[in-house]
Amino acid sequence: MLTYKKRDTFLQRLHPVSGISLIVLYIAAFLTIDNPLYLMGVFLSLLLLSYFDGCLNEILKYGEIIFPFAFLIMILNPLLVKNGSTVIYNGHFNIPVLGRVRITSEAVLYGIVIGLRMVCVVMVCGFFNMVINPDRTFTFFSKFMKKSALLMSMTIRLFPQIMKSYRSVVEAEKLRGGEILNKGIKNKVKNYGNIVNILFISSLEDSGDMAESMYSRGYGIGKRSTYFNEKMGFWDFVYVFVCIGIFAYMGIINSEGLNTMNYYPKCDNPFKTANIYGYVMVLLFFIPAFINWGFKKWKY
């Protein structure tokens, strides 16, 4: 299963604050970085970090699950967006809803980047599921932010719950001939849509039951104590410091326009817009993986 399992790795032992800092950093990077070269670089650093943690296979499975949706975006963007100046194909007929098809290389490239971004963000969420202990995170944050911790706990649990139900829902769809719809992209997307719909509704219903269970055991009535205390260690401070440093550096790069890459009306050349500051940023993202590698080698 693609859910948290105690493996006692370096990352799993980190304080929830350190783990969350790392995840927030990656999500911010994947959402703000425009240049696909940087995006690929940061993505590689995440894969390397997962490799050293021993959860690369699971993270790739998350990517595998989200890829059909990302692929759909890659296909739909050039069909729906008519911006861009380099026309690859100009349709001759009016198609209902879409109008006259006009495919530009800018829309194709932008679709690919958006799809890649989606895969990256989901894989970070998967990484989060594999390395962040939901109990420790919930217990720690619920001391300060009851409602946010509850929301966070529900969110953390939503994905694993969906993963647990996925197999049985797919089986039920298969038994009802849902897989026959797999013929053709349109039907494949429709079939996936059905499965996702069932999974989300079931997960929402389950979250309601859990919320009632928490409510009836007094969650949110006042100040909470903790059964297991969480303390920040040396490497927690190092991780938080590294994350803040990279975050600040990324902020400066963005504000100075060093990460700017235009897709419309004419797409910039990613190699030409890339610069030394951007490459340094990508390298900085390899520091957490390097620390993890060091731990495996020297057991500090």
Binding site: T139, G177, E212, M214, Y227
Partner: protein, 539 residues
């Protein structure tokens, strides 16, 4: 002394005009064990939720009347005081557990009460010892069995030291062993620790005789009150009584036994005629399984050398412990799982050679959780879905199936808004609409009340008379006894016994219906109807 009281309480859920419970007047005494029984959707769970104020605080809605805890008006009490006094354990073990680690989960309520560390440690350790779960304290809550999960849920509530614990169908989702463990724990809490227990349950055979008082509910109202040996005479529905009591009641007995021992005592001096032995229906072989084996992971065999035949028009019950491979075996036959070794023939044709459309027309499989089916907006669309997928959509056929399942009134509703029994019927409708020759039902009676089971039983009988072959994978020996022709016992991936249900179930120590245990040594009975007839004849 009364610990809980409801005075003239009527409650409406949000956006409904029909009350979920009405004119409720109920007093619960300190240390009492109260069992609340009634059909699904009669308001039992809502009644429980009055006493911890989740109704109306959590659910919203309108409430009339007054509720008291230790003579204090509940609406004037602080939430903290309610939580400290009243604990609640829910139906689904998975859905009420908040944390991943067993020990943390048990401490969850104590953390919410801001208890100091030393007191928490003591409470957690004590309840773990009391419920015998210290050995799983380091484990993940997702790794333990259903029965263990439910005991962890009880421990988590018990650690808060409430004076009253309410249980909302705590064993409905558990296998017999898990259910037994949980009920023993509940009994212990009441008898040895004086905790007031309010239990809502559908599986009455195991808990009816545990209660000091029984409250009978129907259509949102309390319709009667009694004790295991003082059941009001007008209480005659199967959802109010354990199966044994219901059979004796049907046979005209005034004194009703509530367990096997009492049943045996009542008939100890009686002699019964042997009932006609039942044989399996004659017919052509429909399914032939030869040397089937399967493993999910290399080296871990889930099924080993399975061989059996199933005839047309036959009803087969499949029983065995959890993880024995029951569902896996029939998922393979339904075509959900491949990569198996051996051969499976349906009507002489190897199923690996069937395409999906052919397979759906041959085999229908109803999985354990009806919610896995529901993604369409209305019952009608849901039932039509399979036919549309195989390109055989026919409005009349959909309407006929909806009518036969008694779902016409709800055909425009969203399936997720229906009651548990209705959901189950919709799921069955989705499965039989393609008119399969073989219908496989995986744990179909889980969470059903007596009336719903009877309804399902008549559906099975009707399908059988139409020449369909039915497989029931179940832990419910009474249901298997009532409706199956043959029984297969699976253990550790192997068939350890198969044959006529009248032989296999009657001779089984653990998987025999309760009524067979009552008649042991007197008559070979496995069906409730036969038992009632025998009892009537003797009288």
């Amino acid at each position: 002394m009364e610990i809980l009281e409801a005075k003239d309480v009527t409650y409406y859920y949000p956006e409904t005009d029909k009350p979920a419970i009405k004119n409720i007047n109920l007093k619960i005494n300190e240390g009492e064990f109260v069992l609340i029984v009634g059909p699904s959707g009669c308001g039992k769970s809502t009644l429980l939720r009055l006493f911890n104020r989740t109704v109306p605080d959590f659910y919203g809605g309108k409430i009339k009347g007054q509720v008291f805890i230790k003579n204090k008006l509940i609406k004037d009490m602080k939430k903290e005081d309610i939580v400290k006094n009243i604990g609640m354990v829910f139906q689904h073990p998975e859905k009420q557990i908040v944390l991943e680690n067993v020990e943390r989960e048990i401490a969850f309520g104590l953390e919410n009460l801001n208890m100091d560390y030393n007191s928490m440690r003591r409470n957690v350790a004590e309840v773990m010892s009391l419920l015998g779960i210290e050995n799983i304290k380091e484990r993940g809550t997702s790794e333990i069995s259903g029965g263990e999960k439910q005991r962890v849920a009880i421990a988590s509530v018990l650690a808060m030291r409430p004076e009253v614990i309410m249980f909302d169908e705590p064993i409905s989702q558990l296998d017999p062993i898990g259910a037994e463990d949980v009920l023993n724990s509940i009994k212990k809490l009441n008898r040895d620790f004086g905790i007031t227990v309010i239990l809502v349950e559908q599986r009455l055979d195991k808990c009816f005789d545990m209660a000091d008082r029984i409250i009978f509910m129907d259509k949102g109202e309390i319709v009667g009150e009694g004790s295991p040996h003082r059941i009001p005479p007008f209480i005659d529905k199967n959802y109010f009584l354990p199966n044994i009591s219901y059979i004796f009641k049907n046979a005209g007995y005034k004194e009703l036994p509530v367990n096997v021992k009492e049943g045996r005592h009542l008939i100890k001096d009686r002699v019964f005629n042997e009932i006609e032995s039942i044989s399996s229906p004659e017919g052509e072989v429909l399914i032939e399984v030869k040397k089937l084996s399967f493993e999910y992971e290399k080296g871990k065999k889930v099924l080993r050398d399975i061989n059996f035949n199933l005839k047309k028009g036959e009803v087969l019950a499949v029983m065995g412990e959890n993880g024995a491979g029951k569902s896996t075996l029939f998922k393979i036959i339904a075509g959900v799982i491949d990569r198996y070794k051996g051969n499976i023939y349906i009507n002489g044709k190897d199923i690996s050679k069937l395409n999906i459309e052919e397979r759906i027309k041959k085999v229908g499989y109803l999985s354990q959780n009806p919610n896995d089916y529901f993604g369409r907006d209305t019952v009608f669309d849901e039932v039509s879905y399979t036919l549309k997928n195989i390109g055989e959509y026919d409005k009349k056929r959909v309407n006929d199936v909806i009518k036969s399942m008694n779902l016409t009134e709800v055909e425009d509703k969203n399936p997720r808004d229906l009651s548990g029994g209705e959901k189950q019927r919709v799921a069955i409708a989705c499965t039989i609409v393609s008119n399969p020759e073989i219908l496989i039902l995986d744990e179909p009676t889980r969470g059903m009340d007596g009336a719903q089971k009877e309804n399902l039983g008549s559906i099975i009988e009707k399908m059988k008379s139409d020449g369909k072959t039915i497989v029931i994978i179940t832990h419910d020996a009474d249901f298997a006894g009532d409706y199956s022709d043959r029984t297969m016992l699976l253990f550790n991936g192997e068939i350890i016994a198969q044959g006529l249900s009248s032989d296999i179930l009657f001779d089984s120590t653990y998987y025999s219906p309760l009524i067979s245990r009552v008649f042991k040594g007197k008559a070979r009975v496995i069906k409730s109807k036969d038992a009632a007839l025998l009892l009537k004849v003797v009288k």
